[in-house]
């Protein structure tokens, strides 16, 4: 599944995650797996809208895992380790007034995915890849 995400309109943030959630439900996957994917992708989608200008999301669903790739052309992340810390946020006040920008997004994405990598370059953009296993590998 492929989605274009634009930061023009905050109200539309989450549409892609919602569509993926619906598709996973249709496939009859376990509710906890669906919820982990939904939360991780939604926080990622919100980040694209808040922190980057625009981006795209690719989701691949296989019998074994769900792969999410979120690619944006935003400002990039200066210090990924710092950004991963709970509570760290550069989001402006107006974003906090919308209910986001608590600095919980990236840590929560990590918590809800089995694998997560962040590739980022200042002034170029950020790519976040997340994988959620359907049958957790031993």
């Amino acid at each position: 599944m492929h989605f274009q995400v634009s930061s023009e309109d905050f109200t539309r943030a989450g549409e892609a995650s919602s569509a993926v959630k619906k598709a996973l439900k249709k496939l009859g996957l376990p509710p906890d797996i669906i919820r982990r994917v939904a939360i991780a992708m939604y926080e990622g989608e919100i980040n694209m809208v808040i922190h980057a200008k625009s981006g795209e999301i690719d989701v691949v669903i296989t019998p074994d895992y769900i792969d999410m790739t979120l690619r944006d052309n935003g400002p990039g992340i200066q210090d990924v380790e710092l950004a991963m810390q709970a509570g760290y946020s550069t989001a402006p006040e107006e974003v906090r007034n919308l209910g986001f920008g608590a600095g919980m997004g990236l840590p929560n994405m990590k918590k809800n995915s089995d694998e997560m990598t962040i590739d980022t370059e200042l002034g170029v953009g950020t790519t976040v890849k997340m994988k959620v296993y359907i049958n957790t590998p031993s």
């Binding site: 989450g14 995650s17 919820r35 939360i39 209910g99 919980m104």
Partner: protein
């Protein structure tokens, strides 16, 4: 407890979801920070919030929540109502402020849906 019980306990007005009133709820969570809500997971929760925007409904959707209560008499607009209807999420509005609304539900036996970790 059912959504209709929540409605009664909070003297709340049903804004949408007449067909959902018999749905069971076990836990509740009160917050204006949606990223905090997303960081704490439990089934079948009620979300109490003073925040009015579409992301409140999306957050509830991602978390499989079945009911949103807007506190302090706040009322959602049509876009919020129609999204919630599509996602089968009941919408209530209570005049009580957040603290009182949470206390009333706790007293009635509902427990926190926002445990740390």
């Amino acid at each position: 407890m059912k959504i209709k019980d929540v409605m009664e306990i909070l003297d709340a007005e049903l804004i949408d979801g007449q067909n959902l009133l018999d749905n069971e709820v076990h836990t509740a969570c009160g917050s204006d920070m949606m990223s905090d809500v997303l960081a704490f997971v439990k089934d079948q929760s009620v979300l109490m919030t003073g925040l009015i925007n579409l992301q409140v409904v999306r957050t509830a959707e991602m978390m499989d929540m079945v009911c949103i209560v807007f506190v302090r008499g706040k009322r959602p607009d049509d876009a919020i109502i129609s999204l919630a209807r599509d996602r089968n999420i009941a919408l209530l509005s209570t005049e009580h402020p957040m603290f009182t609304a949470c206390g009333k539900l706790y007293e009635a036996g509902l427990r926190g849906g926002c445990s740390p970790q």
